[in-house]
């Protein structure tokens, strides 16, 4: 995967744009920089237009005959529906403050990865077709005609944006490239120009309830395995319930948490925590996915996939919902769910049954972030914790883009981490909190065929980890996002191999002193709690 990518080549970055105007520079599809197109079967399953076999490297993309009208009508519709889109199309002054804020530009130097230029890709079409000045002045005003090459360019660059919103922090008008990329992808969806890494999870999620296509019996089997491991390591036997009506709380988390390394350790953390609390909660196989790859497809798809959470909460008759550690999932839950699929008036405003704390900030959506829930437990001394069990870990924390910049959930995970481990080190200021850098693989880019772009885009993040690794001997990168847990793992293997990736609740799992547990000699991964002498890499 990363074998053929040489770091020495990757870091030779030329930030100087070419002489030729960007409008005259066609896109070049090169392996490692684009994602395979969505399979026809996935488009069909989701009733999306123009299912077909094609490849971005083909000359002919098999677009529908009236593709131009589709795009222009689609743009008009979205300009009328979204003030953000309309305003962002109009007010950019091209000051360039965003340019070196994008991880893909920093790590690659492609000028079209400057957020301003990414937006110009679509703004130029807007000007040429929807503004008088653009129609009259044409290129002088940055307008251009809509051609098939434009569509190719859109496909290339809107799938080289992870919708991380870092640029929008710095933009004097708050122009949010995520919003523009989302529009671009919606328009591409109208032509059936999607990527498989997004649409297959979306189709899976639609059908089986989760991205990975885990069917209910398989899900059960996976949990058996996790529960065995927990028993093996702690001596505590846990029996969670699934699809149980009448539970007080529904718990929803990304499916990667119960399928893939290292997410499963975080998942064990949830299981152990809830068991220890004696929480009256249930998992669902129908709403078995917190993530929402609709966010990377279209607003309509967000709603279609997200609808399951409230529907299942209603069916099971729970009072409220807790959500696990995931990034873009929380963008959807925090910023879209209630508007799209609410009001959730069949639920109750969340109250922690353990501490009695009312989660005022979630009283309408009725869904609480697990780190809010756990931080409250710790603050109220409801957990017995032994942070020394994490002593071999020297930890730093990666703020995942969406929780940081679409929610502002910054202190809760830090509070937990500081209470469950003794060695915590922040990454540099310009790379943390609202200025955090993307893992390089968000928004549906986390696939192997994108490896070059991922390693480039992840470089700023990796570089900051390298910094704390060198300075403080950091060997564990904590995050609260399932995409992060997958993509940062690869990123670390490539750039900072001594650092492993973990979720917040994996650290909780290690530190949590459970009733009736046996003496812990291994951590939740089954590795010795204490480093053997001589192997200490601190």
């Amino acid at each position: 995967m990363t074998d053929e990518l040489k770091q020495d080549d990757l870091v030779k970055i030329n930030y100087k744009p070419p002489k030729k105007d960007w409008m005259d520079t066609p896109v070049n599809f090169r392996h490692g920089t684009y994602i395979y197109p969505a399979r026809a079967k996935n488009l069909k399953y989701l009733d999306l237009p123009n299912p077909r076999e094609w490849s971005p490297t083909d000359e002919d993309w098999k677009l529908p005959e009236n593709w131009k009208d589709i795009i222009l009508n689609g743009m008009k519709e979205r300009l009328d529906k979204y003030r953000s889109f309309k305003v962002f199309m109009d007010i950019c002054v091209r000051c360039g403050a965003c340019a070196d804020k994008c991880h893909f530009f920093i790590g690659g130097g492609d000028p079209k990865n400057m957020p301003v230029l990414r937006a110009e890709l679509i703004r130029s079409i807007y000007k040429g077709n929807f503004t008088a000045a653009g129609k009259i002045l044409g290129r002088l005003n940055g307008a251009r005609g809509l051609t098939k090459d434009v569509i190719k360019e859109w496909f290339y660059y809107f799938y080289q944006c992870t919708e991380c919103r870092r640029c929008s922090v710095f933009c004097p008008y708050g122009i949010d490239t995520a919003e523009i990329t989302m529009m671009g992808r919606e328009l591409l969806t109208l032509l059936g120009c999607n990527v498989n890494w997004v649409l297959e999870p979306a189709a899976n999620c639609y059908r089986t309830g989760n991205h990975l296509g885990i069917q209910p019996h398989a899900l059960k089997d996976m949990f058996e395995m996790l529960l065995d491991d927990i028993e093996d390591r702690t001596g505590v036997k846990i029996e969670p319930t699934f699809n149980r009506k009448g539970a007080e709380i529904l718990f929803v988390t990304p499916s990667a948490d119960y399928f893939a390394d290292p997410g499963i350790y975080t998942c064990m953390g949830y299981l152990m925590l809830f068991h220890e609390l004696g929480l009256d909660y249930t998992w669902s196989t129908y709403a078995s996915e917190g993530g929402n790859f609709g966010l990377f497809t279209s607003h309509e798809m967000i709603k279609r996939l997200n609808a399951k959470i409230y529907a299942e909460a209603k069916r099971l008759g729970v009072k409220w919902i807790i959500g696990g550690e995931c990034g873009h999932m929380w963008r959807v839950i925090h910023q879209y769910m209630d508007t799209m699929n609410g009001p959730a008036d069949f639920l109750e405003a969340p109250v922690s049954p353990i501490t009695g704390t009312k989660f005022e900030n979630a009283k309408s959506t009725k869904m609480v972030h697990i780190t809010e829930f756990t931080a409250d437990l710790i603050k109220n001394n409801k957990l017995k914790l032994d942070p020394s069990r994490n002593d071999k870990l020297r930890i730093t924390f990666h703020d995942s883009c969406n929780p940081a910049r679409a929610m502002g959930i910054l202190e809760e995970p830090r509070y937990i981490i500081k209470n469950v481990c003794n060695n915590f080190f922040e990454m540099p200021e310009n790379t943390a909190r609202e200025q955090t850098f993307c893992c390089g693989g968000g928004a549906g880019l986390g696939t192997d065929e994108m490896m070059e772009i991922r390693m480039r885009g992840g470089m700023p993040r990796a570089n900051a980890v390298q910094y704390v690794h060198d300075k403080h001997g950091v060997n564990r990168l904590t995050c609260m996002c399932a995409i992060d847990r997958a993509t940062l793992t690869t990123l670390m293997e490539y750039w900072v191999p001594d650092v492993k990736v973990t979720g917040v609740h994996e650290l909780v799992a290690n530190a949590l002193v459970m009733k009736g547990e046996k003496e812990r000699i291994v951590d939740i991964r089954g590795e010795p709690l204490k480093e053997k002498k001589g192997e200490d890499d601190v």
Partner: protein, 330 residues
């Protein structure tokens, strides 16, 4: 090329009134009709653009949060960068509009050997932007002395503050220098930084040069080539009293100044300069981050196809039963 074109356009725009006044005696056209038309276009155009934006709803509440959310009571919320209510939003917008809060965060990324990425704070763009916008505003307000009779005391005060250095006769205004310097900086920056030059359009160079032209003609009139300021005020007062008359011998420099301003006003609503109004409508800044507390309404929310639980159970019922998962229908 783009730069040259913008330069030529501004030159031509300066030449037009000069020729018109000097050789065609069109002082009424340039002194009355053009300014009236420009102000009308500006106001109508501005309102039109805002209304056009306003017609599109804000379907989702999508603030960019730049600090700690409001959550548990013992966690300190960053009320300005992540507001949860109206007062916070007003504060955030005020910081944004008056002090360019977001631009103030600007950093410069550098890739050093290692590879090591370094992020230095980079305040020059912010400084120039602040100097430019505030100077422009103060100069605009100072011009009120030509638009009012008697002149309000506040204008005197502003003039005194702006000219407190008491350099030269007539007194040098600090904002005059700041404006020209800032525009020059913004302009040079646009040419000198390769990435910024790469993204720059004619419509980026043009307003800078136009404003520089306005500032320059203003400064020339005040400090070097005097025009008949009494005549200027008579013209202006006639215009605002809707009894336009053009006094003789004002001096063509003034008409160049006036024409360039008129151009700016008329150009404003059709250009990126509308960021002045747009910044107030930016959904990532002007919304409270109270998403989970208060439901936001999307006026065009419509029903979509979903995969219902019933359909799901129908497909997987046997498998569910095989592992003891409860089902609705046996």
């Amino acid at each position: 090329m783009k730069l040259l074109l913008a330069f030529v356009i501004v030159l031509v725009l300066s030449a037009v009134p000069y020729i018109g006044i000097k050789y065609a005696g069109m002082s009424y056209e340039f002194g009355v009709i053009v300014p009236y038309a420009a102000v009308a276009v500006f106001i109508l155009g501005f309102v039109y653009r805002i209304v056009k934006w306003a017609k599109s709803p804000v379907p989702f509440r999508i603030p960019t949060t730049c600090g700690q959310e409001k959550s548990l009571p013992w966690i300190k919320q960053n009320k300005l960068d992540n507001p949860s209510g109206t007062s916070g939003v007003v504060g955030r917008m005020a910081l944004e509009v008056l002090f360019f809060r977001s631009l103030f965060r600007n950093t410069k990324t550098e890739l050093k050997d290692g590879p090591k990425l370094a992020y230095g704070s980079s305040g020059w763009l912010w400084l120039a932007a602040i100097a430019f916008h505030w100077s422009f505003l103060i100069i605009l307000i100072r011009h009120f002395r030509l638009f009012s009779q008697p002149v309000p005391y506040l204008i005197n005060l502003l003039e005194n503050v702006d000219g407190f250095l008491q350099i030269g006769i007539p007194t040098l205004y600090i904002t005059d220098i700041l404006l020209l310097a800032a525009v020059l900086y913004l302009f040079i920056r646009r040419i000198a930084i390769p990435q910024v030059r790469y993204i720059s359009l004619v419509s980026d160079y043009f307003p800078l040069l136009l404003i520089f032209g306005i500032g320059l003609t203003g400064v020339l009139m005040r400090y070097f080539y005097r025009v008949n300021v009494i005549g200027v005020k008579e013209l202006v007062m006639g215009l605002i009293a809707l009894k336009p008359a053009v006094p003789a011998d004002i001096g063509s420099l003034f008409f160049i100044h006036l024409f360039l301003i008129s151009t700016l006003f008329a150009y404003f609503p059709f250009s990126k300069l509308m960021h002045m109004g747009g910044v107030f409508l930016s959904p990532t800044r002007n919304l409270a981050n109270n998403n989970r507390m208060v439901r936001h309404i999307n006026p065009w929310n419509y029903p979509v196809h979903v995969h219902t639980y019933a359909e799901y159970e129908d497909e997987f019922r046997d498998k569910m039963k095989s592992v003891g998962l409860p089902v609705e229908k046996e």
